[in-house]
């Protein structure tokens, strides 16, 4: 574990001020770094120069750089039991660099598992299944995307095809399959519209995942993306639910979401794509002028001034207490190997044992703070209004109460039922947590009986 952390520390733009670089007034550090003649890690190969003006250029050779990044991915997967032999994993693929790398790494992991399987005598550990999902958002941005989408989908198809064996199913999900397009028009706030679209995107991914028998959803969010999310959540008054969104695992959903690239920064990801010739596709959006864009520009500015800023932001936010659903549930699958279960238990000790969450916002699925939901609630209030978090109330729900009924009818049925489903799962897990000290047998023994 220690050596991997040291690796993580040395890789580009990550971790603490203990890397011996001047952090305070961060002017570009590229010129101040001494020319390394040999890879810092293996001390034998020539260092790789990306020439992209970023930090840490020319310190590691191509192989060491790649293994640094893949190492972080693999560590995240194993320590959080993200992917185990019996799983069926759906990778959310947008065509961008982050999800391209996620897809690539998951594929490599699968190839390795297949090799081991074929080489083993007893064939005891099956190879996990991998599928790919691409959400077609062109219905939401008709003017911008209609032309490109056909090409993009074709490209995605051929990319996935090239990644076999093992073969992977591709699911192209049109976003309008989960909601009526009129819904977006009813939202007047620019940022609210963008966020609602993100929630709907997640709903479509969840839909395709559960309808096709997947039990894990891999999302390629990297450190940089999460850093922006920390700030957008803060400025939208979502400080309570923030910690739920930035962990490695988010099991609020029917199909738990895992983020194996959480500890990799954007710079590493783009460099890797460049190094390995991983093609990506960037779909043009209509110009976004809301808060989300303001924040990403701000973070980019800070990152220029100090290359480890994104890491610091996420590390700070990681000090917030996660929720009980921020881990793969222990009782999920009896096929999960014992070693993994033990690791899970040890790891799970740090999570908040007290189940204080009562409900989730039907729109964003954010856990509701007690005071939040009771704020301004009156008997005569529309139930949708009462059920939502204050942020969704402000930026998504229509401001005049008379339109609320109509708006609610446009919302996908899933949004409301998702919350209900979760409440059921909650109480079971909640009960177990409360009584586990009284249980005589622990999980392993109980399973064996």
């Amino acid at each position: 574990m220690c050596s991997i952390l040291a690796m993580a520390c040395n890789s580009s733009g990550c971790e603490s001020g203990s890397c011996g670089r001047d952090k305070e007034n961060g002017r570009s550090k590229v010129e101040e770094v001494k020319e390394e003649s040999v890879c810092l890690k293996c001390k034998s190969n020539e260092p790789m120069k990306f020439g992209d003006g970023g930090s840490d250029d020319g310190r590691f050779c191509a192989d060491c750089f790649r293994s640094n990044v893949y190492g972080k991915f693999r560590l995240a997967v194993t320590s959080h039991a993200m992917i185990t032999p019996s799983d069926n994993v759906l990778v959310a693929f947008s065509g961008g660099s982050s999800s391209r790398v996620a897809l690539q790494f998951v594929h490599e992991l699968q190839v390795k598992a297949l090799k081991n399987y074929e080489a083993s005598r007893d064939r005891s550990l099956p190879v996990f299944g991998v599928g790919v999902a691409f959400v077609d958002e062109s219905a939401a941005f008709p003017a911008a995307l209609s032309g490109e989408m056909g090409d993009a989908v074709a490209w995605v198809r051929s990319t996935v095809l090239s990644m076999s064996p093992p073969e992977k199913d591709l699911h192209v999900v049109p976003i309008e399959s989960v909601f009526a397009l009129k819904l977006l028009d009813s939202v007047s706030d620019e940022t609210g519209k963008e966020d609602l679209l993100l929630h709907l995107k997640m709903l479509s991914l969840q839909k395709v995942a559960s309808e096709n028998g997947y039990n894990r959803l891999v999302v390629g969010s990297c450190t940089s993306r999460l850093a922006s999310h920390v700030l957008t959540a803060t400025v939208k008054g979502r400080g309570y639910s923030l910690s739920a969104d930035i962990q490695h695992v988010d099991a609020r959903w029917k199909v738990p979401i895992v983020m194996p690239l959480r500890d990799c920064v954007w710079q590493e990801i783009t460099r890797l794509c460049h190094l390995d010739g991983l093609k990506t596709v960037e779909l043009a959006r209509h110009p976004q002028s809301g808060i989300n864009d303001l924040v990403s520009s701000f973070v980019a500015l800070l990152q220029e001034e100090n290359p480890s800023r994104e890491c610091t932001i996420v590390r700070t936010a990681a000090k917030l207490t996660p929720f009980y659903f921020n881990k793969i549930p222990e009782t999920d699958d009896s096929c999960v190997p014992m070693a993994t279960q033990r690791r899970l238990k040890k790891f799970n000790l740090k999570y908040d044992g007290s189940m204080t969450t009562e409900a989730f916002c039907p729109i964003c699925n954010g856990p509701l703070n007690g005071s939040d939901s009771s704020e301004g609630y009156h008997e005569s209030d529309n139930t949708l209004y009462a059920a939502c978090c204050s942020s969704c109330r402000f930026q998504i729900l229509p401001q005049d109460r008379s339109s609320l009924e109509h708006f609610g009818s446009l919302l996908p049925h899933h949004m409301v039922s998702q919350a209900k489903h979760h409440q059921k799962v909650d109480s079971q897990t909640y009960l177990r947590e409360k009584i586990k000290d009284c249980l005589l047998m622990d999980d392993e023994e109980a399973e064996a009986v």
Partner: protein
């Protein structure tokens, strides 16, 4: 843009009137609601909001000695003016003072202190000045000469907070009032996230008067009332990293005015483990001031200055006086310490 815009769309026709009194010509519009109001109504609204905050939160009791932290800047000048007005108007019965801190910054502080001295005369409030030199033995000029322009704001911030508290204790005041507004606090919440400090801010701001009012309102008030204030950036601040956050907050407020309050709400709602929330309240071994560690922050910084180790106390604790973590110092973490101060066992070969 956001919803508020619709209200202020200009229609042709008769000149608009202040939407509160409907008599006078409006001179400005409130950032949050975009209401158009006249000068007199603005004063009333502004002063009334502050009065409401005071009353609703029961901030004061009659007969209390209340010190107003006065820097000479807009915020504290407005605060001093309004508070003395309200004290008179609503008979709070408060014994008000001005308390000013002299950081010892030539060319900046001298001028702003002159402003505060004028405020003393203008508002009829007695003034007490405490200097860093008196309290700590160092002026900011001395400190900057020693450590340069990198962490000077950290020193000043720590020293000033203590100075206000110590001054208040000396003057035997019951309450200390500072002019922090919502923007300042939002900025601090953001900065803390950016720099890694999430638990601290919860207990920093004890007495808030202008919470519901934004930065723009306060400056507008000062402008219209032609209040005497001093308005220049601290001469040591060009490298102040707070500037980034401030720009961002201004842009944010333009897009969505309520975002400032939302930041503060987020800060209050952050799920912080109870163990980190309230540090043990003890006393500093060196000076007796309240501290959660063996030595208070000011003493740690001073020790560093006096020993010629300017980085001591800056950044995260790596052993030393407060011995936060007892782990062996790694080579990477010891760029600041000189070779002599290291124990032989921890040197890497």
């Amino acid at each position: 843009m956001e919803k508020g815009e619709a209200k202020s769309k200009k229609a042709g026709g008769p000149p608009r009137l202040c939407c509160i009194c409907n008599e006078r010509r409006p001179v400005l519009k409130r950032p949050k609601t975009l209401q158009q109001i006249c000068r007199e109504c603005f004063y009333e609204v502004f002063e009334e909001e502050i009065h409401q905050v005071i009353v609703k939160n029961r901030l004061f009791k009659s007969g209390e000695r209340v010190a107003i932290g006065a820097s000479g800047g807009k915020d504290s000048t407005v605060l001093a003016y309004v508070l003395s007005e309200l004290n008179r108007r609503h008979s709070y019965g408060l014994d008000l003072f001005l308390l000013s801190i002299d950081e010892g910054i030539t060319g900046y502080r001298d001028d702003s202190l002159e402003t505060v001295k004028r405020n003393e005369l203008q508002y009829g409030l007695p003034l007490q000045i405490l200097s860093y030199k008196d309290l700590y033995g160092w002026t900011m000029d001395d400190i900057v000469k020693m450590i340069g322009l990198k962490n000077n704001c950290t020193f000043c911030g720590v020293f000033r907070r203590q100075a206000l508290d110590r001054g208040a204790a000396l003057l035997k005041v019951d309450k200390l009032v500072t002019g922090h507004n919502a923007d300042d606090i939002a900025e601090t919440v953001l900065l803390n996230i950016l720099r890694g400090d999430i638990a601290r801010y919860v207990y920093i701001y004890l007495f808030l008067i202008m919470l519901s009012l934004g930065y723009i309102m306060i400056h507008t008030y000062a402008y219209f009332k032609k209040l005497d204030y001093f308005s220049t950036e601290c001469i040591y601040s060009p490298n102040a990293y707070r500037g980034f956050a401030r720009e961002f907050i201004k842009d944010l407020e333009r897009l969505r005015p309520r975002a400032i309050l939302d930041i503060i709400k987020s800060g209050e709602d952050f799920r912080i483990a109870t163990t980190t929330k309230m540090p043990e309240q003890g006393t500093c071994e060196r000076c007796g001031y309240i501290s959660s560690q063996k030595w208070c922050k000011a003493c740690v910084l001073l020790e560093g200055l006096n020993r010629g180790l300017p980085k001591m106390g800056i950044g995260r604790a790596r052993g030393g006086v407060n011995g936060g973590d007892h782990k062996k110092e790694t080579k990477a973490g010891s760029t600041v310490k000189s070779l002599e101060s290291k124990q032989c066992g921890s040197l890497d070969f």
